[in-house]
Symmetry: C3
């Protein structure tokens, strides 16, 4: 039976990467009470961006949505590392999506669905989240997408 | 006597629209403890944007501020739908304003006041909020403004 | 012994400015439970921006990082004013960094380190925070950087 986030990840063929260490003087996740705030994640796959550039420029909506999915995988890896297991996630409260794009781009929501759809696929109903999605002119390392997360977690 | 958010809305001649359903795999609002996180709202009026384009481009500061006000109306509609009544709102904690604009635009604060002023007009002193306002190159559907909200609400 | 945020500020030669009043219908900080949300701060020094313009344009990474540091000083001033003392800060939970930049700029993280490094220098280990850093086309008043903060604070 597929009834846990870990089992759903496995059924999707996703192996969580090692949680990436921040490259500067900050941390990947901070818990306060039953909230866990996870830093903005880039679509890094084994240390490299899955794509670089901008939506409306050289990056297609499909490639952008895949990048958003990789951001979500990295958010889940950070959750797993911070909590010692995904079963402690009670709710995906909010995802914030930043889409690097040209001024005429309008399909931000479709790109961000790459992250949102995976959140629901992995966490089920508690994966349904509030969300804000906006365009940005550029992101660190020329990434096309960055996604940050707020989660409700079990007390300790 | 005007002493409730609903009465103040009526005095302002504002009829709350039906809360818009998200167009993708996310939800309009998530409650965690006494916090309610509401997804970024666009200035949709009966399913259409009140304006489209950018500040510093074809959208004037006045039209932008009106768009921000419509975003706030939609946030209030989401609050009302999520809580079953505005009297359960204890505090507008934070509004995040994203202003689609040209690189030379500098009057973000004036645009965002369209949302902030309405928050205070409807909720009174508890409507006074923390706020971050930034420019963005583009927003979903070519909207000129998007506003997200964080609210403190009564326990259930 | 340097074992308090106030002592560390003094050791760094930083005199906190008077907390700036918001220029519109919002407030600098809102507390909800043990969370304090502080509005986005600009790099204002005695009422003037430490720099204006964009990264990748006329503003160098060094000047941008210094601007981020001034934003952090202003966040700390707001904390001090809201709490009546920095010893009530339990944790810097999250910093959100908005970097006004050209579309080809990629060193957002280095700029934002100006804020993050000061947070850790002043608050020590509890100063280590989650963080999201993104580019924006423009900011209020043509500021190069804006930083917002979320803090865990003592109950009252």
């Amino acid at each position: 039976m597929i009834d846990s986030p870990a089992a759903r990840l496995a059924a999707l063929g996703i192996v969580l990467p090692a949680a990436a260490a921040p490259v500067a003087n900050y941390v990947a996740a901070v818990r306060t009470g039953t909230l866990l705030v996870v830093s903005g994640q880039l679509p890094l796959v084994e240390g490299r961006l899955s794509a670089s550039g901008k939506l409306g420029g050289g990056v297609t909506v499909e490639v952008g949505a895949l990048a958003a999915r990789f951001c979500m995988i990295n958010l889940i890896a950070q959750l797993d590392a911070a909590l010692g297991g995904l079963e402690k996630v009670r709710r995906v409260v909010r995802l914030g999506g930043f889409i690097a794009c040209t001024p005429d781009f309008t399909q931000h929501a479709t790109v961000m669905n790459g992250a949102s759809d995976l959140a629901v696929a992995v966490f089920g109903d508690p994966g349904r989240h509030a969300r804000s999605t906006v365009g940005v002119p550029s992101l660190p390392l020329d990434a096309p997408v960055e996604v940050e997360g707020l989660f409700e977690v079990d007390g300790f």
